[in-house]
Symmetry: C2
Subunit: 340 residues, 2 copies
Amino acid sequence: MRVLISGFGTVGQGFAEVMILRKDFFIERYGKEISIVCVMDSSTYVSNESGLSPNELLERKKTTGKVGTETYQDSLKVMDSVDYDLLIEVSPTDIKTGGVGLKNIRHALESGKDVITVNKGPLALKFCELVSLAKKNNCKFRFEGSVGGAMPIINLCRESLVGENISSMRGILNGTCNFILSKMDNGQSFEQALKEAQQMGYAETDPTNDIEGYDAACKVVILANSVFRKSVTFSDVNITGISSVTSEAIALAASHNMVIRLIGEVSDDKLEVAPRLIPKGHPLSITGTLNAAQVVTDLAGPITVSGRGAGRIETASAILSDLVSIMDDRKERGGKCRNQ
Amino acid sequence: MRVLISGFGTVGQGFAEVMILRKDFFIERYGKEISIVCVMDSSTYVSNESGLSPNELLERKKTTGKVGTETYQDSLKVMDSVDYDLLIEVSPTDIKTGGVGLKNIRHALESGKDVITVNKGPLALKFCELVSLAKKNNCKFRFEGSVGGAMPIINLCRESLVGENISSMRGILNGTCNFILSKMDNGQSFEQALKEAQQMGYAETDPTNDIEGYDAACKVVILANSVFRKSVTFSDVNITGISSVTSEAIALAASHNMVIRLIGEVSDDKLEVAPRLIPKGHPLSITGTLNAAQVVTDLAGPITVSGRGAGRIETASAILSDLVSIMDDRKERGGKCRNQ
């Protein structure tokens, strides 16, 4: 499996670290290592058809700020110059246009390459187009890490729950909001809690994307399209953030043995992100930066999964999970992985 | 896929219902229905190589109390008289000897048949022997429903988390105990809570197996052997139940924002079932009859899954999940499923 990585920020570097940590795992399971044949960051690239050393990539990024040895203008030309099987698209999320990530994913799928991404922009804006493109070109297209980081909700539904009819989903899909609301449970004001989230590095200087629910809404779109096979986009989601949640509301909820959580919801007639009352002791009443998602199934009943919603290695672990799943599929089917 | 069902109590009947509900699912995914070629209960059996009607099986059990039209003395002779691919072993759990379930599973694996079971007795007593037998005879052996009913912990670890190193597991593995402890959180005494659990049908007249932690310990053994590849049995588990948990202890925990839960734990140096303090808002602080399990992984961090730990259809849904997984494996590999 020859991998091209586009994007070498936090997640891209995390993935390179995971490739170092899992070298033996891949050799044991598939007979050889994953071969990273090209890496691009925003302005440079490096490629080698015999494979690049993850250690060297990380070292050069650290010392020079750039992953590559060459500069480029057009990422598609770089992609066309490389012989690869799988694109790992982890460039920065652009929720307005899809950005370079959308362009790269489209191009890879059109070229018959498998794609793994954690980039929410292309998925929230052009999900159906990309899935159709993958299908048309017989490519695998996976994106577990785009929703809830290490929380394995998409693959759980695709694998263990494949025989279930899933009627609805509710989830805590933004760890920053959950951290703020958890702090408010303990008596902090919204402003205090937000400030602490910023100090801890959970919230950005401009926290709008998190606290107004836009990030959670992207994930609702991805879940609606992938798990529920809807055909929806960002503008279809009704969004209310947490900036208007008051300490009084939190205290009132607590007096009824409830907490307020920002819940993303998908059902037949609903596509929504909004603060909701959750009973204490419910699987969605969790505190801190965790993410959680509960699907309601016809046979198994409600199934909830939770895990870390962000983090360098955590998000890279979701890419690993997708990568193993693609390689298992390709291997069993005697498919496209020429290097195996 | 020709199925032989041994046991036609709650779970066996639940599975028959699921086969009715999922008729179209199997036709769509595999081109034909699952064929139930033989069903045994404790004293009768019925077989038909062209397939039995689940509706008729359920109707006869309901009206006559027996699933079969013939009586039998030796279940192995019945099994030998039938041409089948997969044994679904759902006879009553015998945690002392493994009972007829152990005998049937051994015989099926020795005959080269795939096996799905939810029967904790054989798994808690003879796990390693049965896994070796399955391996030797190139059979699939699955048992998702034996731990936590509909909670998909084993398949999650086997599928989505396959690239992770799992260092430990902690779980709420007995819904009856969790119900009792949740009621005690609300001020009931242990005796009151137990009585209510019995009235609701969650606890048996003799509740020893649940409240002394024996049921949870069986599940700890199954998880230790399957997820952690240990080689342990029931007698290796340190077990403390919940009968000595006092209202005072619950109140003291609450004053520190904690709850007491009966936790099964597997780690390098621990195999234990005991009441533990869990912070409120932790994914294992859930209330009611739910089960939950948290695995700690090296890359993804802690991942928790929760779901209904018991129930006719819920447990049958775990069998469905195992069945689909076996059929997918066999189909892709052009394997043993002669009817596909």
